[in-house]
Symmetry: C2
Subunit: 514 residues, 2 copies
Amino acid sequence: MNDQPRSTARAGGRSARHAARSAALPDHLRPIRPGMSGGALNLLSQQDMERIHSAALDALERIGLADAPQSGVDYLVGAGCILGEDKRIRFPRALVEDTLARANRSVTLYSRDGKTDLELAGARVHYGTAGAAVHMVDVMGREYRDSTVQDLHDAARICERLDNIHFVQRPMVCRDIIDNFEMDMNTIYACCAGTYKHVGVSFTDPSYVAPAIEMLHMIAGSEANWRERPFVSNSNCFVVPPMKFATESCLVMEECIKHGMPVLLLSAGMAGATAPSTVAGAIVQAVAECLAGLVYVNAVKPGAPAIFGTWPFGLDLRTGAMTGGSGEQALLTAGCAQMHRFYDLPGGAAAGIADSKLPDMQAGWEQMCSNVMAGLSGLNMVYEAAGMHASLLGFCHESLILSDDLIGQALRCVRGIEVNDETLAVDQIAQVCLGGSGHYLGTDQTLGRMQADYVYPALGDRTSPKEWVEKEKPDLIAKAIARKEAILAERSAARFDAATDAAIRAKFNIHLPA
Amino acid sequence: MNDQPRSTARAGGRSARHAARSAALPDHLRPIRPGMSGGALNLLSQQDMERIHSAALDALERIGLADAPQSGVDYLVGAGCILGEDKRIRFPRALVEDTLARANRSVTLYSRDGKTDLELAGARVHYGTAGAAVHMVDVMGREYRDSTVQDLHDAARICERLDNIHFVQRPMVCRDIIDNFEMDMNTIYACCAGTYKHVGVSFTDPSYVAPAIEMLHMIAGSEANWRERPFVSNSNCFVVPPMKFATESCLVMEECIKHGMPVLLLSAGMAGATAPSTVAGAIVQAVAECLAGLVYVNAVKPGAPAIFGTWPFGLDLRTGAMTGGSGEQALLTAGCAQMHRFYDLPGGAAAGIADSKLPDMQAGWEQMCSNVMAGLSGLNMVYEAAGMHASLLGFCHESLILSDDLIGQALRCVRGIEVNDETLAVDQIAQVCLGGSGHYLGTDQTLGRMQADYVYPALGDRTSPKEWVEKEKPDLIAKAIARKEAILAERSAARFDAATDAAIRAKFNIHLPA
């Protein structure tokens, strides 16, 4: 029966595997893709979520939010909110429930070239950068230095080349540009000139929105093009937790909505400082604040695209300093993701933050913990997923590059376990065991799935100790540096055509060389 | 209303936090403990699990297992199995279902001093070492060298001091001991002399069990003491996948059962080589093989303590080499954990394996991915959770030490999110926002939870970039080396009393110096 020599069968398997590997897979057969659905992780029961919802409604009705700008007061009171003598705006339950019933259930975040649009809906998961780091991590020199517009542009160029980074919200501040207006304009330029993927920015002043939109119209080719496919969204820190509107940011938000720019309603409380220290309490407050934001957005323009951005952060209570690499952070983010699904609203939160200063083992475990839990919880937008160190103060290009492997692995977990007659494989087991080769390596079923089911790291090392020595013990960070240098040695493909670039530079003081 | 100056309130909070921190917590209030219940991660639906169960029953009935020893054939046929003309033993569905109904629902793995007994039941999670690495990782020299009995003893001593390592299954082979009998005896000695925690070993020959038990009776003080609280269990690779009994290991297993030693029914197929390449198929085969083992154990002695050890491993299909650090591995293990809960059987599987050769960023993300997913899936015994590199070929003391932080973080995630009136904190939010300090840092609720809710890393770094520079940029690996040296500078507290030690040494050739 078992008449085929085992060694021959395996050698045949090996050459067949090599042949299979060299054939490129069609896109729909890739093992991982943006927008795969999570949701297998449910840290909260249905009753837990109902209690969190009810507590958030309580907080909105009893406590409300202070410090809305006058325009916001008008919008909100017009919608049915109550302005108290203490100047706090309170939200009747029915108003919040009505808004939830009418709010958009999905948001499309467009790419500039249409190739990497993101459909935020259900439990579809996307990973990308975000943040406002003020330092660049120099891994060779083990130094933190001020981040620059060139660093930001380089980050966008690197993201453009990484399959598992799905969007580019600006992760760091251009500290070499002193003027705030120039910084905001150059942030848009540096990001969009580096990547076609969806870009996120954050305006510091409401008066900057109109000129920024002018630049975006130029990049898009026309206002109509921009409004049809807005490829930049704005991150609005519209609240100063606990339970206060951020007056200026609310005005920025109103401007963005008017110009057709999707907004991220970002509530960034710190559990134990500006939010309750309990995971559940921090989620309640973030949900309450974002519900307030949702009412606000829908009062400005019903159905305007908004992302429910409950971003509670963790705190090291021993020191009072922020920490983003903890298990508590992973729980905060995963719990928020579940609340987004509870509401069936497109949502985002922060994960992948390392407290470690360098891309070391600690950074690896910190980044994976919250990233994989966020994905398994079905978070639509996993912000700050790559490159973030020192509890958000530092950004690292090499770490960003390595995150492509890390997030690829997380995405494989999000994809989960397919169960059907073929994958259960009883017939295959019978075939192999009863008179077959006794081995699965060369079977058609194994060969057919070696690319469609398995994710292989680009820089992660899987050699045996013997091969590792033969390859002169490759260093992970050195490989990341080499990859970075190779990417940055090429000119960005996402640069604007010469006429557009000249027109932008005539209008704005662009710091990046042409 | 808000008449207390904010800076004073916060300073008061800080000193109060310092006071709270210095008070040691009673054990039941520690934020994380062995045996916390997981189960929030469910990658398989109920229907998926029923299909896997049904497929495993199919495989047992149609394909069965080859190569049982004669004693095993007798036990199994006596229990109702069918011996085919092809010498394969097939398992009628009713027999398997009956065994499942009668098998033990929990196993206690005893510690030697009674302080760290493990109750395997439900979704209770425990992390520990395991494996058979043949190399020791020298992180300073970036070298792989042969592992020795001293390395094994040192690993046990380090585990004894790490709160989040709950058991010590021998993670590496004493390659400096050539004789297999002496190696097995010295493995027991080296582990038990290093830790009071539950120890796991793996005998290479059935004839070694009786003398090993003699040593264990000496360590326990008497046979009665041993049988009352067996503090060593045996890992039985009782199958050679696919679907063949490992003849010798089955005989070892029979011996262990007779001597009151709990057994781990370990099925270690490699998906794509000795098991189907699909995650579901590899789980089906592992479940089928372990069900066969369960029938075997219960035929030898009904209700004998056995751990359902579905340990499928991943493979890099490009090279045919094993990989344990992948997303596919995390899925295999998490899926198996769910099947253990489906059967309500105490179970274990492998997680925490790094493919990386050194404790670098890759090792961090690889170890966290499968460790946290195993815990969230409610795996009773997370084997190989710490220190394992090069896809199980290398063990690293420094990585083991760092795993205490990594697993502590995973355990915090396993604990999950408590939702009740206190944690929802609406009253606290109201108090802080409406006339309070506007800040949670100094509140009683925050202070009261800073130790009970939050896990702080021992070696992981959370300093700001500024503090980090002031501390001269501490290196994670250097800190782990220092911790290792401090632990190993002390004599092991778990060493046997002089008379017992002398008696053991008179009877066995113990390689470790007295």
